[in-house]
């Protein structure tokens, strides 16, 4: 018996131990997103080389298309705009640990309401400023109300918002399809007629008469809106009592209740804002880029926004950066075949982010454990 225990001891001397890090050092926290993206690209490279491509060439090509020229930046900005807005939207809910994953649906409803105003509910000769303002408010309210349904169900009946917000996304997409194939259809195709010019968000290229170098730069004013919202949110989290309440409730709802915060009201308010920003993303997309409502006008911005918000650790300014990165990924992958590469890379990134975050909370210790 005694001899048996000694052999066991000897075996265990060569061991790896995994222990939880009690705290993550600052450098690690800052580097984490970069490490994770690098890891994702590495895994992506492996997959690319498995299908016979040279990953270095592919990545280089994607980067130069997305960020190598003014037009590239413009295209990337166009993709980044809805990602920033919807990403900020979901980040508000996530901060309070409310899992609104239905941003895609809220985005569709925002776009639908904006389209209604642009084509049908306002006189066609409404001045551009008023037209755009009404469309923006309408888009915001539409998205907000769509998110309010899961919000109110969560607040009053404690129904899981993950399921309701996701399911409502499919309702929103089908609702949209009904209108574009039915009452609002342009000659039976799955799209509406084009918006009048006064319902278009101004684009850089619109000013190429005065500034010729802006020719072909089709990025639109939505990006300024997105940046303004990012800065506003950053301020709200840092310097307002409302932001403080969201932080407390997100960390420990019971403590929030104990401190006299109204949980149900807060859940509803947060869902309204969260959905509102996603709705605004939808409005910006139809008004700034597509200029009509059509089937699949969003390549899943509302879902990608979840990855963006998560990778940015819900920091509003980091969301802008990460959204640009993902915008670049989308633009870059348009140029390569097969186009599924971008989707695959996104998937890999999400996978690595979720998994890697966990790994970084632990550290590996090599060697001597017992009886040394």
């Amino acid at each position: 018996m005694t001899s048996q225990t000694t052999t066991l001891t000897q075996q265990r001397r060569i061991g790896l131990r995994i222990e939880r890090r009690l705290e993550q050092p600052l450098w690690l926290r800052v580097l984490t997103p970069f490490i994770l993206i690098a890891a994702a690209l590495l895994i992506g490279a492996l997959l690319l080389s498995l299908v016979g491509a040279n990953p270095w060439v592919v990545y280089n090509k994607m980067a130069s298309i997305a960020f190598g020229s003014a037009h590239g930046w413009s295209d990337t900005t166009i993709k980044a705009t809805p990602l920033i807005l919807a990403g900020l939207g979901v980040s508000i809910a996530f901060r309070m640990r409310l899992w609104n994953i239905g941003a895609e649906g809220q985005l569709f409803i925002g776009a639908w309401v904006a389209t209604g105003f642009a084509l049908f509910w306002l006189p066609r000769d409404t001045p551009q400023a008023i037209m755009l303002l009404v469309m923006a408010i309408g888009g915001f309210v539409g998205g907000a109300l769509w998110a309010f349904v899961p919000g109110v169900l969560k607040a009053k009946l404690n129904i899981n918002e993950i399921i309701t917000s996701l399911m409502l996304t499919y309702v929103a997409i089908l609702w949209n399809n009904y209108w574009i194939y039915g009452p609002w259809s342009d000659r039976g195709f799955g799209l509406t007629p084009q918006f009048p010019r006064n319902a278009w968000l101004p684009r850089f290229t619109d000013y190429s008469g005065d500034f010729p170098f802006l020719r072909g730069i089709t990025a639109h004013a939505g990006i300024f809106l997105a940046l303004a919202v990012a800065i506003l949110l950053w301020f709200v989290w840092k310097r307002t009592k409302w932001g403080y309440e969201v932080k407390v409730i997100g960390d420990n709802p019971r403590a929030g209740q104990y401190a006299g915060m109204y949980l149900a009201r807060k859940i509803m308010a947060v869902m309204l804002l969260s959905g509102g920003l996603a709705g605004l993303a939808g409005m910006a997309e139809v008004s700034g880029v597509v200029h009509r409502l059509q089937e699949r006008f969003s390549p899943g911005y509302g879902f990608t926004a979840i990855i963006v918000a998560w990778l940015a650790k819900l920091n509003p300014l980091a969301i802008v950066l990460v959204a640009y990165l993902f915008g670049g990924l989308l633009v870059g992958s348009d140029a390569i075949q097969p186009a599924g590469i971008a989707k695959m890379l996104q998937g890999v990134v999400l996978f690595v982010v979720v998994g890697g975050e966990l790994l970084l909370q632990y550290r590996i210790k090599v060697g001597r454990s017992a009886s040394s």
């Binding site: 018996m1 005694t2 225990t5 066991l8 001891t9 222990e19 939880r20 890090r21 009690l22 705290e23 840092k238 310097r239 307002t240 009592k241 409302w242 932001g243 403080y244 932080k247 407390v248 960390d251 420990n252 019971r254 403590a255 929030g256 209740q257 104990y258 401190a259 006299g260 915060m261 109204y262 454990s369 017992a370 009886s371 040394s372």
Partner: protein, 515 residues
């Protein structure tokens, strides 16, 4: 086989956790057939040492011998194979299954098909042998905490434990239940079982143990026979300095009624009645202690007063203002402060900083920023001054509170609640889990508040604490007030009996009716 007089020998045990040296070259010997108390403050390393002995942790250094034979445990299963079993503070029972089923849970020899009669008979046999009365066919959820503890003991006895480790077994028991447990332990010791008893309560250690090992900051401070040791000597060994047992309780003039409960009824989380027509009053400058065994409506009482739990009947009056539908915010605004029993789950936001936790109750006020804005510099100024005046040990005011020790977290809560200059202070088990030093400072803070004229309701399972600092005592049992005493006239045995639901002389009810 047993050449060694010791059932357990732990030699040079060292265990490190990141940033903490939990056990530092600990030598610990237990004789066969003795009751050995392991005494120490929280964080002294008692539980770590016993978790090593029971196979839950592995030591970084050192060796363990059981009955003179060197062993190495890789799991609790290894430990039980060598006859070492532990009863944890938090029971590991499945509520919806019967006592017998729980005892046999995980036991391999019973095979695939269960034989209920045989299982029940086996449980009954062990129960009778060691005087552990419990019905083998009862479901766990039907049992009292004391009975559940017996099931845990039967469970490890069934698995052949010769060496039993009990982690603070009396923490959840009434004085009477604790006395029953002691009888059981003595009879097991007489039957040559070895018992290790973890505790930080000096009286019970002196009354039950044969020998005592005192741990302090991960090291053995002393091992000594219980015979001839005094409480003061033990306390000094435990803390490493002189300890005052009697807190000075200055006479305070009892003022006007600050808190009045008028036939308050409330439900628990399962929507079953938890409070039945509870009436009590607390005056300015007075501490009223609510005695009772955990789970008799204490939490519901505190939450009802603080507006966190709706009243189904009755009313609460704070400083003359009558409320039938109190909310948390209304109660805070009315001047009710609350130090909840679960500091982590209710009283704080663990990942938020010390400063952010300190303003949890005051952030809505104008001095914390105008209108919707939060004035960060005001927050930091207030936090820094509270950290200083309440002597909170924290690396900085930006440190997340989850990194603070229990005592310091409790100081954060007390600093926050007291700094609001409350009219009424509800303190629920304010010293639970704190060591002697921190307990002393929390109690003197409460007495200080009392001198300032606050009305304090002290809800605690620790009768010593209630007797030490309250002016009046009420006993809560199954959501009802069973009796009310002036502390000076109260008798420990009688209070203990009422806590267990025992009937009383009628005069104590008469006092209650008057109040």
């Amino acid at each position: 086989m047993t050449t060694s007089p010791y059932a357990v020998e732990m030699r040079g045990i060292t265990k490190r956790f990141p940033g903490v040296l939990a056990n530092d070259r600990v030598d610990f010997q237990v004789r066969k057939g003795e009751i050995h108390a392991l005494l120490g403050e929280n964080g002294a390393g008692k539980s770590t040492l016993m978790n090593i002995l029971s196979g839950l942790y592995r030591p970084d250094e050192g060796e363990i011998a059981i009955h003179g034979q060197v062993v190495e445990f890789h799991s609790p299963r290894d430990a039980i194979r060598h006859g070492v079993g532990m009863v944890h503070q938090h029971f590991m029972l499945t509520p919806s299954q019967s006592v017998a089923e729980n005892v046999f849970l995980g036991a391999r020899e019973i095979g695939f098909v269960l034989n209920p009669q045989r299982m029940a008979a086996e449980v009954r046999r062990i129960a009778e042998q060691y005087r552990l009365p419990v019905d083998p066919n009862a479901k766990i959820w039907q049992l009292s905490v004391g009975e559940q503890q017996r099931v845990e003991i039967i469970k490890i006895l069934y698995r052949g434990a010769e060496i039993l480790i009990l982690d603070e077994p009396t923490a959840v028991l009434t004085p009477q239940e604790a006395e029953n447990l002691f009888v059981t332990l003595r009879s097991m010791a007489a039957d040559n079982k070895t018992i290790i008893f973890i505790s930080h309560k000096l009286e019970e250690v002196l009354s039950i143990a044969d020998r005592i090992t005192v741990l302090r900051s991960g090291r053995v401070a002393a091992t000594l026979p219980a015979q001839g040791v005094t409480k003061t000597e033990l306390a000094n060994l435990m803390v490493g300095r002189q300890v005052l047992f009697q807190l000075e309780k200055p006479p305070v003039q009892r003022g006007e009624v600050r808190l009045r409960l008028d036939k308050v009824c409330a439900l628990d989380d399962k929507q079953l009645p938890a409070l039945c027509e509870v009436s009590l009053t607390v005056h300015s400058g007075e501490i009223v202690g609510v005695a009772g065994v955990a789970g008799n409506g204490q939490r519901e009482l505190a939450e009802a007063i603080c507006g966190l739990r709706p009243l189904t009947a009755g009313a609460i009056e704070v400083a003359g203002e009558r409320m039938t539908r109190p909310t948390a915010r209304r109660m805070i605004d009315a001047g009710v402060a609350y130090v909840p029993e679960d500091r982590n789950a209710t009283g704080s936001a663990p990942n938020l900083s010390v400063a952010e936790n300190l303003i949890l109750k005051s952030y809505r006020r104008a001095e914390m920023g105008a209108g919707p804005f939060l004035d960060l510099s005001a927050m930091e100024r207030i936090a820094a001054s509270l950290v200083k005046s309440f002597n909170i040990l924290t690396p900085s005011i930006k440190t997340p509170v989850r990194k603070l020790s229990g005592g310091n977290l409790q100081k954060v809560l007390l600093a926050r609640e007291i700094s609001s200059q409350p009219k009424v202070l509800i303190a629920a088990s304010p010293t639970r889990g704190l060591d002697i030093g921190a307990t002393e400072s929390v109690r003197s803070l409460l007495l200080q508040e009392r001198s300032q004229g606050a009305a304090i309701l002290l809800i605690s399972e620790d009768l010593d604490e209630i007797f030490a600092i309250s002016d009046r005592i009420v006993v809560l049992y199954e959501g009802r007030i069973m009796g009310e005493f002036e502390t000076a006239d109260a008798d420990l045995t009688e209070v203990g009996l009422l806590m267990a639901g025992g009937r009383t002389p009628s005069e104590s009810f008469a006092t209650q009716d008057k109040g």
